[in-house]
Symmetry: C2
Subunit: 282 residues, 2 copies
């Protein structure tokens, strides 16, 4: 997905939020915004928003010297989500359609996103996602794709959310490769988060080689690209991965996310707050 002009104010909001979480004082926060301002004229709108996300969080890391400003928050949400695991699992076990329930939970977990502006309430989110109709619902295609492959490439999004992904992976019953970011960026999941949430017990964990908050193929490692190019079925979680991959090729991707900003809603033809299971090749 390209960058829209409405993303630009949001880049500044994100930078400010990250700078504050990194403990920067006001002068340092201003310096980060000034440096971001200098990047704006050079940033082509044909690039995807996570590419600027990468610049924003790199600036915050370099100027504050904080390698991982969201570390504590990530640890906290990993723990909160892991504590919910038995309840979440029960919810799936006692549902009429276990796969669909697990998909809904995976979307509910996608609300643990510190890169967007809205605060969130995880329990309420789970309740809402179970009541809500999907705005885009390529479930039939998803079930068919599942039947025809043994391997799945699963593109992770945020820490904490990983536990919700685990629930879905357990329902898929396939060989899953779980892909996280290579370096800290916002609260996106890293290898350590995936391990902490127990993904290593049921899937292979790899990094995509990049530090942007999404999957931008031109910035990913050759190892990841080899898997991506060969994949028969890719599950892409969250807005960041959608922004990086949408419209870029004909890959067999199912995008699974909650629309958390009006710009993406507009791009995908949904409203802010909608939930989506969208097949890339339809």
């Amino acid at each position: 997905m390209r960058t829209y002009l409405d993303c630009i104010p949001c880049f500044f909001k994100q930078a400010l939020k990250a700078a504050r979480l990194a403990g920067a004082n006001e002068d340092t926060q201003k310096r980060i915004l000034d440096n971001l301002a200098a990047e704006i004229p050079n940033f082509p709108l044909s690039s995807s928003p996570p590419e600027m996300g990468g610049i924003v969080y790199r600036l915050v890391r370099e100027i504050t010297g904080e390698e991982d400003p969201f570390k504590e928050v990530k640890d906290e949400y990993n723990k909160i989500a892991l504590n919910s695991y038995p309840d979440l699992k029960n919810k799936v076990i006692h549902s009429g359609d276990r796969l669909l329930a697990a998909i809904r939970l995976a979307i509910a977990g996608n609300v643990i996103d510190l890169g967007v502006d809205n605060p969130f309430d995880l329990e309420k989110e789970i309740e809402d996602v179970f009541k809500k109709d999907f705005a885009i619902f390529d479930y039939q295609e998803f079930k068919e794709a599942l039947k025809s492959t043994k391997q799945i490439l699963y593109l992770a999004d945020n820490a904490g959310e990983v536990v919700f992904d685990r629930i879905l992976i357990e329902e898929l019953n396939k060989e899953v490769t779980y892909v996280v970011r290579d370096k800290p960026v916002i609260n996106d999941a890293l290898i350590e988060d995936a391990k902490f949430c127990g993904i290593d017990k049921m899937a292979k964990i790899i990094s995509n080689g990049s530090d942007v908050p999404g999957t931008v193929l031109s910035l990913c490692s050759r190892d990841f690209l080899d898997l991506y190019e060969k994949a028969k079925l890719i599950i892409s979680k969250g807005q960041g991965n959608f922004e990086g991959l949408a419209g870029s090729d004909n890959a067999p991707i199912f995008f699974l996310f909650k629309v958390k900003c009006p710009v993406i809603g507009n791009d995908v033809g949904c409203n802010d707050g909608d939930i989506v299971l969208k097949y890339n090749c339809k």
Copy 2:
């Protein structure tokens, strides 16, 4: 009031909104944002937000060549408000405290503000403002100040809102000088708006000599400053005038506005959406 870092994303939002209203295409919109980005590092946080507002709207005017991008919207709201005049007047006539009812209406009219992010519903706003308690309510001081002067300097805010000011001016029964902006900026009232809404029948209309969306004394004309310095009672409408004047001196100002952004809410010790009648010398 100083500029807070949270104002910076908002400057970009305002620039984009104004550029679009001026009919700029996407390339021109981007050029406006790029030019704004270049101003950010040079803008001291000790300046007040309307000073940057002035820069933003000047950029939009210069780059689009549109001298008054909000002209149509201003005309529309002048007409809407003028059509409501008989009903508004009736509301005051049939209230127990006519002055207070007129103050409430003057605040309700302050919602006609295209510089802030929220959409508005004028009728609902009027209803709400009559139900709401003031978060800051220096009404006693205001009535006393009224008793001790014959002249009032009234600092206007937006087109359309002028009709609501007229209702209040009619209740004041004093010699009023009504001060508008000198050049178009957002939907702020100009001399032509004040005349269209009938202010010339009950008050002298002057401009403050500046084109920023607020009253920034260092940018105002000597003629205005002479009146300002001598004034015994100043009524200041809206956030922009508050941002420019709050804390700057010991002038006998009553700020009358609705809090329309969390940054100003924080500065004044109120919540977003609160209504305020605040005495500057308290």
